[in-house]
Amino acid sequence: MDAEKDNANPTIINPSDLPSRRRSAPTATKQPGLFDALVPAYPSLAEPSSSPEASDSDSDYEPREEIDEQEVYDLISTISDPEHPLSLGSLGVITLDDISVVAPTSARSRISTVTVLLTPTTSACSLTTVIGLGVKVRLLNCLPPRFRVDVRIKEGTSQTADEVNKQLGDKERVAAAMENRNLINVVNTMLVTCE
């Protein structure tokens, strides 16, 4: 296991080979600490400005800003595994091939969809839901609101995939989870390693 992780570590470096994209991501979010913005987005802590401001600047961005799979990868591959001091990218939980960005389906629609398929480190990983939540929260906070974020477990990689997929797809559950202090702390810890 350990050897595998060590070997996998270098993949972390890959995203940094794409500096132009890495730079554009933090610009889009503007907030100094992404994990700071995470908490107030749901409860009413001192952050009344976050969502409207973000949406304004995002719509200004829209014509220029094209977000591709690599950029999504850069946003989430640096998230830390809740168990190991390693990134999800280096553990192979997140791979570029399992990220897809789909443009609006019709001329009238402005909604794009980002789908991320996770590969848990073991098929019985009990932390799969939490990892999925971290990925989902990270993307909800970083991507412009015109993106719908679907985070799922890659088929055949987890015994509890259906259950986890359903939870992660349930906006009410995700919203409630992000008002749960314990879960916020876990997710914040995972996101500390994101710039």
Binding site: S55, S109, R110, P144, P145, D170, R173, A175, A176, E179
Partner: protein
């Protein structure tokens, strides 16, 4: 072409996600449940915020519901992610404007007698009356019975609770219903019977009634391929009414008669992107074959109900459908969801003359009316009617998801006909928008 036209956005809007907006049973105001732990009361006359309710809940307020038939006082129930429900009261002065001013003085005098030094400021105050504790986790939805002093609440803890208000602010739990295998997302009462519907994360809808002394599940509606987010009964006034004229043929008359016997239908919206309509099979018919086969001894035969899927609304939504509203005035349905669309549908007689001007329905009405109707007579009677999309708006809340939509009486200066309605949508952007529907 019928259309959905923006009329106003309530101001100020919430800075965080807004979940649901509930129109007052008789005053021109609405209450919006917000994730910032407040409820905002907005006026349908000038689209301004009139008051707020805050300080009662520790987490998001997910849902709110007005108590029907509360005279002289408005009573609002709030359901929160903090697992509790709150009951709030406010005297009605100041809520109704215009002619009602005379009465205002009268009630305000009375109110002043109760608590000392009651002045105008206090009249607008919401009083926290009682907190209903019992659920283990987030409350998702709640609803007052229109028939009796009952309040239903439901939660992620998979249960539905029924509370009876014995007298003011004294609530007693009369039932804890635990048949669902997942979060219960929504509860709704039948408009004319003590019958409760619940929708769940287990993809099913259940119906509940009181059997002798105990509340129990009397019907299980299966078929949805994902979480059921919303259930709602048809309005009593609309039962058996179909747009595009009265029943003329024998088949049509029979259908109307059957619907009146069965009572209001039920509508459900799901994560599977579909909206389905269910109808109750009349007892006489269900009795016949069932009775002879298995005489049920442990429960009264009359208790269980059989509901069947009657129709699906045209599949327009591309993502989960979070809510739909059945107009009490016109029978039209409006729906919304994750794709940010608001869609209005109506039910028509198939092959009715109105279909000429509806592009959506033309495929099925190419032949002469007579032929079309004869063909349908040979199939199930239900295909006598069809649901068509009459209007649709994209990006109703910019690029955000829309969590709720509902019909409400129009009350602003631009109001035309007495029974004119508006649509009210509530979105992830924290905004509550008002729309005109132009038939």
């Amino acid at each position: 072409m019928p259309s959905i036209i923006p009329l106003a956005t309530f101001t100020p809007s919430c800075n965080a996600r807004a979940w649901l907006t509930s129109p007052h049973p008789h005053l021109p105001i609405v209450a919006t449940a917000c994730s910032d732990k407040t409820v905002r009361i907005y006026s349908l006359q000038n689209f301004q915020q009139q008051s707020t309710i805050s300080g009662g809940h520790k987490r998001s307020i997910r849902s709110c519901a007005w108590k029907p038939n509360s005279l002289g006082e408005s009573v609002l129930a709030t359901g929160s992610f903090d697992a509790s429900a709150g009951i709030w009261r406010r005297y009605e002065e100041g809520a109704g404007r215009g002619k009602i001013n005379n009465e205002t003085d009268f009630t305000s005098g009375l109110a002043g007698g109760d608590t000392e030094g009651k002045d105008d400021e206090d009249e607008d105050e919401w009083r926290f009356a009682v907190i209903l504790d019992g659920h283990d986790s987030e409350i998702k939805s709640l609803a007052f019975s229109p028939m009796s002093p009952l309040l239903a609440t439901c939660s992620r803890d998979k249960s539905v609770w029924i509370w009876e208000e014995l007298d003011d602010d004294n609530f007693e739990t009369v039932a804890v219903l635990q048949d669902h295998e997942g979060d219960v997302k929504c509860v709704a009462w039948h408009p004319d019977e003590q019958l409760l519907a619940s929708a769940s994360y287990d993809d099913n809808v259940r119906l509940w009634r009181e059997d002798v002394d105990d509340w129990a599940c009397c019907a299980l509606l299966t078929g949805h391929g994902g979480t059921v987010w919303w259930v709602e009964f048809e309005g009593m006034e609309q039962v058996g009414k179909i747009r595009g004229g009265n029943a003329t043929s024998e088949e049509q008359k029979r259908l109307v008669e059957e619907r009146k016997n069965a009572g209001p239908r039920l509508m459900s919206c799901s994560d599977d992107h579909s909206i389905r309509l269910w109808r109750r099979l009349p007892k006489e018919r269900a009795d016949g074959p069932a009775q002879s086969k298995l005489p049920s001894i442990w429960k009264s035969r009359d208790f269980e109900e059989e509901w069947v899927e009657e129709a699906r609304l045209p599949a327009v939504h591309e993502r989960p459908v979070y809510a739909a509203s059945w107009s009490r005035k016109t029978g039209r349905v409006a729906s919304t969801g994750s794709d940010g669309k608001i869609v209005v549908y109506e039910e028509r007689w198939k092959g009715a003359d109105g279909s000429d001007d509806v592009s959506m329905a033309d495929a099925s009405s190419t032949g002469p009316d007579d032929t079309a109707q004869k063909q349908q007579a040979s199939t199930a009677e239900i295909s006598l009617t069809e649901w068509v999309v009459v209007a649709e708006v994209d990006n109703a809340h910019d690029v955000f998801e829309v969590n709720h939509v509902i019909w409400a009486p129009r009350a602003d200066k631009g109001k035309g006909a007495d029974d004119e309605e508006v649509l009210i949508s509530t979105g992830d952007d924290g905004e509550v928008r008002v729309w005109r529907f132009e038939p």
